[in-house]
C-alpha cells in the first residue's frame, strides 16, 4: 500500500537508517532495562538521555488487536479501502507496539494473538523503508 514517506530527523535517523538496511532497532534504556517506541530524547520512565542506546530486536511480535479501516484520512490510501490495521506487540517487550497493514492477510480475517515477523516496505515518495509485519505461517 502506498504509505506516506516519513522524513527522518536527528532523533530517529538511526531507526530509519536501520529500516533501510533491513534491521529493526528500538531505543533501549540501560537504567530501566526497557525498550521504548516512538523514539524520544530521553527515557520516558527515568528521564535519562545518556542511558538510551539503539538495540536491534528480533523482529518478531504478536498481533495484539486490529481494526478494518473504511474511512481513512490519508489520501494515498483511499483506493485500498477497506484495509486491515493491526497493533503489533514486540516479542522483547509487549508494551512496545507498532502498526501494520498485515500484507497478505485478507481484510477482516486478522488472527489476533498470531505471531508475526517484520518485513520492510518501501514508501513511494522518498524510497524510505518502514517496518511492516507478516503473519508467520
Amino acid at each position: 500500500m502506498p504509505k506516506q514517506s516519513p522524513i527522518p530527523d536527528g532523533l530517529d535517523k538511526p531507526f530509519y537508517d536501520a529500516c533501510n538496511e533491513g534491521r529493526l532497532v528500538v531505543q533501549y534504556c540501560g537504567n530501566c532495562r526497557r525498550f521504548q517506541f516512538p523514539p524520544l530524547p530521553a527515557c520516558s520512565s527515568c528521564g535519562q538521555a545518556a542511558a538510551l542506546t539503539w538495540r536491534q530486536v528480533s523482529g518478531r511480535g504478536r498481533i495484539k488487536s486490529r481494526v478494518v479501516v473504511h474511512d481513512t484520512p490519508v489520501t494515498s490510501l483511499v483506493p485500498d479501502q477497506p484495509f486491515n490495521v493491526a497493533l503489533i506487540a514486540l516479542e522483547e517487550e509487549p508494551g512496545v507496539v507498532m502498526l501494520s497493514h498485515l500484507p497478505g492477510t485478507p481484510v477482516d480475517e486478522v488472527p489476533i494473538g498470531a505471531t508475526v515477523e517484520v518485513i520492510f516496505e518501501t514508501t513511494p515518495a522518498t524510497g524510505q523503508k518502514v517496518p511492516e509485519w507478516r503473519v508467520v505461517p
Binding site: Q4, S5, F37, S44, S65, V67, T72, P73, V78, V85
Partner: protein, 441 residues
C-alpha cells in the same frame, strides 16, 4: 499578553495525595449554554465567539448576579474541530465591524481568547484573575476550582466554545493529503488510521479479553440519544430530533470496524459558561450551589498508540484518586457522566470509577448496559446523553452533573441525586471531578 495555564502542582495526578484541600470550598451555581449549529455560516453573530458571549451572559443571569461580581475567568482556548491556531488566517469581511479585535486574528473564530472576551464584554469590568485550561474544558473546571479554593478569585466563569467550519476537517486535509510526513505523527499516520481507530482497536481487544461484542453497545448508544433528546440545548434536539433504533446502530457504516458512524460524535458549534463561587457568596445566588468535593487527572504514557493495559491502568488510577480526593466511594454515586466521544471507550471510564460494580473489576460495563441504565433506573449511565446524544463539546457531561444535583436537569434522574462524577476526555488523558448536592460532612 498570553494567558498562563495552571501549574502542574494544582492537579491531583497520583495516589497518596489525600483529601483535596479545597473540598467543599468551591461551588457551581449558574449555567449558560448557547444555541447549537452544525457549521459556521461565516456571519460574525453566529461565530464561536458570539456563542461564547451569549453563554456567559446566560450563566450570569442564571446565577442571578451582576456582571460586576465576576472577578475571574478560566477558558479553554482550544477548539479542536476545524482549523485552529493559524495566526495567518484573517477573519472574514465585516468581522471587525462587529467585534473588537484581539492580537490573535482568529480569536473568537477558531480559538477562544480571554483578551477577546474582555474586549467584547465591557460589562466584565472587574475580572482580575484569568487563566487558560488547555485542551479540554475539564481542565478549566479543575483549574477554576483550584483558583477559587486558593482564594485567587471569588466568583469565576468557566468557559468553552467550539467551532466547526465547512468541509471535512482532517480527512484528506493538511498532512493527510501529503506524500511525506514529518514530526511525531510519522510513526502512526502512514498506516492511515482515522481518529476513532485507536479506540476501536482497544475496544476490540477488550471484547476478546472479556467475551463481549460490538452489538452489546447498542443499549448504551440508544440511551445516550434518548437522554440527549431531553436536553433542549442539545444539537439533536434542536436540529435532528429523531430517536435512533437498534437497527440504525447495528447497520451503520463502519469508520474503523468495530467503530461505526454512531460510535463517533458529531462536530458542532456551541459554547458553555458556568459560574463558580464560594459557598458563602453562593447564598446570594439564585441557583442551588453544587459542591466540588475532589478532582483527578491522568495523562498518557508514550506510545505510537495507547494499549488496553494503559487505559485500564489510567482509569483505575483515576478512580482511586477521585475517591481519595473526595472522601466518597463508588457506591455513593447517584449517576456517572464520564466522557463518551468515542462511545467505545466509555466503559473504561465507567469501570475505572467502579460505577455500579457488584464486586466486578473489569469487563462488566457492557453487561451493565444490558440492564436498566436509563434515568428512571437504579444505575443512570450518562444521563446527560454526552457528546453522542448532544453533539461534540465535552461539556454536556459537566453541565448536566451540575443540573442533576440542583434538581433541574431536563433528563433528571428519578432517584435522589446526591453525588455525581464527570470527566473527559480520553481514558488515559482525563480530568474529572466529584460533585455533591450538599456540603461535605
Amino acid at each position: 499578553m498570553p494567558t498562563e495555564s495552571a501549574p502542574h502542582s494544582w492537579f491531583r495526578n497520583r495516589d497518596g495525595m489525600g483529601l483535596w484541600e479545597g473540598r467543599g470550598k468551591v461551588v457551581a451555581t449558574g449555567v449558560g449554554v448557547s444555541p447549537t449549529e452544525r457549521r459556521w455560516n461565516e456571519r460574525p453573530e453566529t461565530s464561536m465567539g458570539a456563542l461564547t458571549i451569549m453563554a456567559i451572559r446566560k450563566a450570569i443571569e442564571d446565577a442571578g448576579i451582576s456582571p460586576d461580581e465576576i472577578d475571574g475567568l478560566v477558558l479553554t482556548p482550544d477548539s479542536t474541530t476545524g482549523i485552529s491556531n493559524d495566526p495567518n488566517t484573517p477573519p472574514p469581511d465585516g468581522w471587525d465591524k462587529v467585534f473588537k479585535m484581539a492580537s490573535f486574528p482568529q480569536a473568537g473564530i477558531t480559538r477562544g481568547d480571554i483578551d477577546w472576551i474582555l474586549l467584547n464584554m465591557p460589562e466584565l469590568k472587574n475580572v482580575k484573575f484569568t487563566m487558560n485550561g488547555p485542551t479540554c474544558m475539564s481542565v478549566s473546571f479543575v483549574t477554576a476550582a483550584e483558583a477559587v479554593a486558593r482564594g485567587l478569585t471569588k466568583t469565576c466563569l468557566v468557559v468553552r466554545g467550539w467551532h466547526n467550519l465547512a468541509g471535512r476537517y482532517y480527512v484528506g486535509q493538511g498532512a493527510a493529503a501529503q506524500d511525506t510526513i514529518s514530526g511525531s505523527q510519522k510513526y502512526g499516520a502512514p498506516w492511515g488510521v482515522p481518529a476513532c481507530a485507536p479506540t476501536a482497536m482497544i475496544f476490540q481487544e477488550y471484547c476478546e479479553r472479556y467475551g463481549k461484542n460490538h452489538d452489546m453497545m447498542a443499549p448504551f448508544v440508544l440511551n445516550e440519544r434518548r437522554n440527549g433528546l431531553m436536553n433542549p440545548n442539545g444539537y439533536y434536539t434542536q436540529h435532528r430530533p429523531e430517536m435512533l433504533t437498534v437497527e440504525d446502530y447495528l447497520n451503520a457504516r463502519w469508520i474503523a470496524k468495530p467503530a461505526n458512524i454512531f460510535d463517533n460524535d458529531l462536530p458542532i458549534m456551541a459554547a458553555l459558561a458556568v459560574v463558580y463561587t464560594t459557598p458563602e457568596r453562593a447564598k446570594d445566588h439564585k441557583q442551588k450551589p453544587v459542591y466540588i468535593l475532589g478532582h483527578g487527572q491522568t495523562r498518557p504514557e508514550s506510545r505510537v498508540m495507547p494499549t488496553l493495559e494503559e487505559w485500564e491502568r489510567a482509569t483505575d488510577r483515576m478512580g482511586r484518586i477521585l475517591y481519595e480526593s473526595s472522601g466518597i466511594g463508588p457506591d455513593d454515586l447517584s449517576f456517572e457522566n464520564m466522557y463518551d466521544g468515542f462511545t467505545l471507550f466509555h466503559q473504561f471510564h465507567l469501570e475505572g470509577i467502579r460505577f455500579a460494580a457488584r464486586g466486578e473489576k473489569r469487563g462488566y460495563a457492557l453487561d451493565l448496559y444490558q440492564t436498566d441504565i436509563s434515568i428512571e433506573g437504579p444505575n443512570p449511565v450518562s444521563p446527560s446523553g454526552g457528546n453522542n446524544g448532544n453533539g461534540r463539546t465535552r461539556f454536556w457531561l459537566h453541565m448536566d452533573s451540575i443540573l442533576q444535583l440542583q434538581g433541574r436537569s431536563p433528563s433528571q434522574i428519578k432517584k435522589p441525586a446526591e453525588f455525581g462524577v464527570s470527566g473527559a476526555h480520553m481514558p488515559n488523558y482525563c480530568d474529572a471531578l466529584i460533585w455533591s448536592a450538599n456540603p461535605p460532612v
